[in-house]
């Protein structure tokens, strides 16, 4: 990320003006993050700052400055935002927005996508043991928590679903790797498509299984 910014900003190094001092850059980032309701990426910040600025470095300072304060600098994927400290939520009851109550199916679907992403509709159904109703994924996409990922390179090239930056921001996660209990689930083999050390051939539920097999191994090969 830092690289990206530097390359973008590198050329104007011959610019007539020197980059502002780091403290000044920190002020700039502070102003931008305060002003924006949505998280900002480093390149977005760099684009608005004078040439030669390195928002990544200034961000480290700013983040430290707000540690333990009433508002904090938080990360959501590759974006940054200022959010109120969660222990002070009780003060903001006036600001609380009535969020649409999600059905149990929607909540489970969201969790399955979050923990298994990228995941296809067939895989979600295999895990839940029931068909995913038409509106469920649609609703989660509309709320901005899910989006389409890349197609799976298996027969039929099914689309996959992944979570968004908004999802991370909403649940206060720095990245999808910070999902609660993720490491334990992985260690227990519960993010695989079959029990650890299981037989290779297809089973009970049939067709999708074989396909799921390829999917999953492809998925966790990282």
């Amino acid at each position: 990320m830092t690289d990206e910014t530097t390359t973008e900003v590198d050329t104007p190094r011959e610019s007539l003006f020197e980059a502002p001092p780091l403290a000044e850059q920190e002020r700039m980032i502070e102003a931008m993050l305060f002003a924006s309701a949505e998280p900002l990426s480093l390149p977005e910040m760099a684009a608005r700052m004078p040439h030669g600025c390195d928002p990544a470095e200034a961000l480290v300072l700013l983040r430290r400055r707000y540690e333990g304060r009433g508002v904090n600098v938080v990360r959501a994927g590759d974006r940054w935002a200022i959010r109120t400290a969660s222990d002070l939520g009780f003060l903001m009851r006036q600001e609380a927005v009535e969020t649409r109550r999600l059905s149990r199916a929607a909540i489970e679907t969201l969790a399955i996508v979050a923990y298994h992403q990228p995941v296809t509709r067939a895989e979600i159904e295999e895990i839940r043991g029931v068909a995913v109703s038409k509106g469920t994924v649609d609703q989660l996409i509309e709320m901005g928590w899910l989006k389409l990922g890349r197609r799976r390179m298996t027969p039929g090239r099914p689309v996959t679903f992944v979570t968004t930056t908004e999802f991370l921001d909403h649940f206060g996660l720095e990245s999808a790797r910070d999902l609660p209990g993720l490491a334990e689930l992985r260690a227990a083999g519960l993010l695989e498509s079959r029990p650890p050390g299981a037989f290779g051939t297809s089973v009970a539920e049939g067709e999708e299984e074989a396909e799921g097999d390829i999917d999953q191994s492809e998925m966790f090969d990282e």
Binding site: A35, E38, E95, A111, I112, A114, R128, V130
Partner: protein
């Protein structure tokens, strides 16, 4: 099945009575379950052991008992519940019979292990979902800037569209034809109603016998399709008018021209 199970139950004492009562309760709740896997998970939990140590055989028997009782109570179970029952009956036979060495498929133990895994995974995902929802959420526990300062000052216009807009736009175009109300292509059809209307207007001038051909409207003579349609309509209309006593109709022999004329009123 019910019989053998219930005798077995009776032999096993009060624990099983409690279990049976619990199963009866399940039947009442069947609408509350999200499919057979969900129900199986509930059954597995009654064993009060680690999901990895559940007795799949016992669970299969509980499920089959559940389906039997639902049948006895004439409760309609969705098809997937019955499919699962059939599969569990098969699994049960696999688990009880000694393995057949000539059989290539997975063994009963492997199938049972996979089912146990599926249950454990579903249960783990539910727990993960609960943990996720228990996190401090934006707009409830954590808040964004209430007064964002993104004031609109420059003239640059940026157009936005979402992927959803794009896909819906495409879907709209590609399905437009299927929404067109059904209309028959009528420009080559002359209906009997049209013929009736027209003949009623012209009837007064038909004092003499004239062939039906002469009644064809302008522009319906040349194209064979149009000519056929108009002729048929005119013929049907003249029969109707004859029936109403407004017209006389005659044909000298088979395939001879049909002629019509106004029926004179006896005044």
């Amino acid at each position: 099945m019910t019989d053998s199970l219930s005798t077995a139950d009776a032999a096993r004492g009060p624990d099983d009575v409690a279990r049976r009562l619990a199963e009866e309760a399940l039947i009442v709740d069947v609408d509350g379950f999200e499919g057979p896997l969900d129900l199986l998970l509930t059954l597995a939990r009654t064993q009060k052991v680690d999901l990895r140590r559940i007795s799949v055989l016992q669970m299969a028997e509980q499920y089959l008992g559940f389906v039997e009782r639902a049948k006895a109570l004439r409760i309609e179970l969705a098809a997937d519940y019955l499919v699962m029952a059939a599969w569990l009956a098969f699994l049960k036979s696999r688990l009880l019979l000694p393995p057949d060495p000539s059989d290539e498929g997975p063994s009963g133990e492997e199938l049972a292990a996979h089912l146990a895994f599926q249950l454990e995974r579903l249960s783990a995902m539910r727990e993960a979902a609960a943990q996720l929802m228990a996190r401090d959420q934006l707009g409830r526990d954590r808040f964004r800037r209430g007064l964002p300062e993104e004031t609109v000052r420059s003239r640059r216009v940026s157009y936005t569209a979402t992927l959803l807009d794009l896909m819906q736009g495409y879907a709209r175009i590609r399905t437009r034809d299927s929404f067109r109300p059904f209309v028959m292509d009528r420009d080559r059809v002359f209906t009997m109603e049209e013929a009736l209307e027209r003949m009623r207007g012209l009837i007064g001038y038909a004092g003499d016998w004239t062939t039906l051909d002469a009644w064809l409207p302008e522009g319906w003579h040349d194209d064979p399709v149009r000519r056929r349609s108009a002729t048929a309509a005119n013929f049907a209309a003249s029969l109707e008018l004859t029936k109403q006593g407004k017209l006389e109709i005659r044909q000298s022999e088979t395939f001879a021209p049909i002629e019509v004329r106004r029926k004179e009123r006896l005044s």
